[in-house]
Amino acid sequence: MTELRLEGVTYEYPAGVRALDGVDLVIPAGGSLALIGANGSGKTTLARHLDGLLRPTHGRVLIDGEDAATFSVARLAAKVGICFQQPDRQIFQRVVRGEVEFGARRLGASEEEAFARAKEALEAVGLADDLGRHPDDLGETRRKLLTIASVLAMRTSVVVLDEPTTGLDAHGAGRIGGIIRALHEEGRSVVGISHDIRFVAETFDRVVLLDRGRVVLDGTPAEVFAERAWPRLRASGLEPPHAAITGARLGLGSTPTEADVVAALLDREASAVR
């Protein structure tokens, strides 16, 4: 499995805007990490460094210890698959099946292998019976799930998902959460970019807050969403998860998810009885 390491990565857009400013970050093999931050904090820019699409102005990106700059993006795509935020920017096949197989075929999977992977990926995102349909006939929501499926079918050891829950309803978001946890159990690394704080707190075991191209917070959800970190979050225009606010109000310590609130209250009730 693949370890990603960013050492002092700085990236300046041609117009001189510094999107990343000396980022040091290690994403261990099998890690599950969420990137959060306001618009323009550098989340997407950072993600595009992970598969070599963008090359740092200063610093290095190491993939399994080797400098990403020495490989072509197509080669790196075998290890790091990115699902972009806008579904329409990549869909072009006439049939859903062809779209999902595209990435897998580019990485050298045979027709049968690609078809098998496509069916499995479509099953995972809940589009199993849309195999033969034209992507345009699927609504915005299912087109989003289609792009996620086409990255899953590439079977890369690192999966990067940019705003995976945008435009999805509760079922859809739940399904994506399940997929990320399943990838994690398979030992593959997952990097997610999301505005949905509750989804982040419940799905990832590490959260990195970016602000103007710098890592300002890096830790478990319990650390990043703990009350002492709230000023830092709010400075980036982010609200802590509802469960964390409730936990603080009830003096239960840091409770980023509802499950934590339930557990803390059960403990308190149990210790009160003793």
Binding site: Y13, P14, A15, R48, D51, L53, S72, V73, A74, A77, A78, G81, I82, F84, Q86, D88, R89, Q90, I91, F92, F102, G103, R106, L107, D136, S150, V151, M154
Partner: protein, 261 residues
Amino acid sequence: MSRIATPSAGGPTAWHDLDPLTRLVVSVGTLVAAVLLTGVVCLLLLTLVAVLLPAALARQLRRVLVTGLLLALPLALSVIIVNVLFSIEGTVVASLGPLEITEEGIALAAEVVARVLTMAGAAVLFYVTTRPSELVASLQHHGVSARLTFVIHNGVAMIPRLAERAHEVTAAQRARGLDTEGNWLRRGRGVVAVAAPTVLSAVRETEMRTLALETRGFTRPGRPTVLRVPHDSSTQRVARWGVALALVLLTLARATGALPC
């Protein structure tokens, strides 16, 4: 979003104060005249009067010269190569191995290069001193249908967006393992895998923009209100008709061969 150079309207000068329609008529007139005139002298005179003078007036002389030359260069070079080196009839002036260079070849090449420079200068002069929205407002003021001016203005805005979209699609496809370097077949397949989503997503987007325009009353018959009225004047109106008349006379002279150059 990386914006490709938008025209800088430049500071307020006499040229900028003219109604954009007048500037367009001057530029189109120069282009048509360049088509009709043949002699190098006439063409250079035309450039001096109708391109360089206004450019100086608009304090954009350097930019018009530089951009005009840059645009005209590739074509001018080809013209010289094709016409000087390859034309065989006429008196041979010099020879370069098997190829003879003839006087006629040089004359023709000089004329075409002069015409190319004039046309490039005229187009760049207009582009550099007029923002598309200014021209569109003026055209609407002068009675051109809003649907036509919408298409023109939108067409200009679409160029950088389409180039930008192709850039984004390339990134998305490369992230899915598409290798755009390599042999001819792979490069060919790469072009399709980038061109198709670029075109299709742009076409798909037309549906949403259609709805957005319809809900904002785009299809109301009659002309929409024009907020920025260009400062037109009777002298400019006379000048415009003057240019039109001059072109007609030029065409007649050219047809009957009465044209000196």
